[in-house]
Amino acid sequence: MQRILDLFFSPHDLRDVLPDVWLGFQTNIHMMIVAEILVLIFALGIAVIRGLPGRAAIPLRALAIFYVDFFRGTPLIIVALVIGVGVPSADAGWISGRSAATYGIASLTIIYSAYVAEVYRAGIESIHPSQRMAARSLGLSYAQTMRYVVLPQAIRRVIPPLLNDFIGLQKDTAIVYIIGIGEAVLAAQNYSTAYTNFTGYTLAAIFFVLLTIPLARFTDNLIRQREARERAAA
């Protein structure tokens, strides 16, 4: 028992590894924030393209569907390896010379945009057709109807499931350590290799949990408020 405590919960090692893991964790936070912002924008674009009406938009719609199908089905770790190891080896000029964290952000954005596009799409489809009809009947164009009537309502409606996906994204910033990003897990791994002690992992796990709990509670609150509001309206 003492042996386990020493290996995973040693106060002495905790003190030693804390600065490295904390420094690494700041990279996780950085990747998480940038990727989430990019995902919000990029996924909205995919969802809107997927909903475009008419024959002329068929190729665009097909592209959006293919994107979602492909990247929702691809493991993040493969995308991370292809982008984080493959792109730098390709000697493709500017794009090959980015930092590992940038490749990590790109990988997270590519994968999570596929998920979040589906969340947006569900929100857009949940808006009753009579809302579009009312907007169009007033002379608003398709684009204006989306911009002023459909999307504001749809986005409000999908905030809770969207935040849920972001909790997943926060944790997955750890997976991209595989391409050598100096984040929390890599710091913990370096320490465990050097000193055969795993307390660094425990510490990194605690950081991740502490980061997701506020977001999880915030999401719960939003859902509760919405339910209360809907009961009041009914």
Binding site: A134, G139, Q144, Q153
Partner: protein
């Protein structure tokens, strides 16, 4: 006769294998009020939606104010600026205040300045006694108030024609009269209107012409005195007597 303000000629419309409109023709003169009566599913709503191109017709033609709407591709957004429609279920935008609901289309579709659109919205809201609700969201209003806001939202575009699609059918009985009064006011300023309604007394009072629709066909049309006083068709008589026995006439 072909010089109507609105001319619907031999219009056919089907949804899949459900033939909703069968060779429907209708003439509406400028400043006229035409009421469409008939059972649910007889095609009243579909006819209204075809007129402002929310539905595309399968055959026939519709002209409005000298423009053929169905021959060559018209600019639907420009056209709909001139034809207001109000729905049974109000369809206000729930994420916007009353004022924003009323000013959205004038600003974004007509390109009016915010000040201009809001001044007009305040004027209209004042006229219907809802000025104090301008900053409220629709779910804080009664059904009658919401429907009056929906009418004002359409009026804010200064339409030349108003289509009212059973606008009192979703309202509690005690809220119906405030909405009908607003429509009555519109007839007095000469608004051209096509009204689908189940309110027979109201139709008799405001209409210049009544059209009885039955299974997608205008079975009988004429002035209210004739349709209500001396209906020629057996189906019209049956419909009116069933409405009568339901206490709605």
């Amino acid at each position: 006769m072909n010089d109507g303000f609105v001319s619907v000629e031999h219009v056919w419309k089907a949804f899949l294998d459900n033939q909703v409109l069968k060779d429907v023709s209708l003439e509406v003169g400028l400043h006229d009020v035409v009421c469409l009566i008939g059972a649910s599913g007889s095609g009243k709503s579909t006819l209204l939606r075809c007129i402002n191109l929310l539905e595309t017709i399968d055959a026939g033609s519709i002209t409005f104010d000298g423009q053929n709407l169905t021959a060559n591709k018209p600019n639907v957004n420009k056209l709909r600026q001139q034809i207001g429609i109000v729905f049974q279920s109000y369809n206000l935008f729930p994420h916007m205040t009353v004022l924003q609901n009323v000013t959205l289309a004038p600003r974004k579709s007509r390109g009016q300045s915010r000040n201009h659109a809001e001044a007009r919205a305040y004027e209209l809201l004042d006229r219907i006694g809802l000025l104090d609700k301008a900053e409220e969201f629709p779910d804080r209003l009664s059904g009658g108030q919401q429907q009056r806001v929906a009418i004002v939202r359409a009026l804010a575009m200064d339409p030349k024609l108003m289509l009212l699609d059973e606008i009192t059918s979703a309202l509690d009985p005690q809220l119906v009269s405030e909405v009908l009064q607003l429509v009555r006011d519109l007839t007095e300023v000469g608004m051209t209107m096509i009204i689908a309604t189940h309110e027979m007394n109201f139709a008799r009072e405001v209409a210049d012409k009544i059209c009885f629709l039955d299974a997608g066909v205008i079975l009988e049309e004429g002035p209210p005195s004739q349709i209500f006083g001396d209906p020629q068709e057996e189906r019209t008589r049956a419909f009116l007597s069933s409405v009568l026995s339901a206490g709605r006439l």
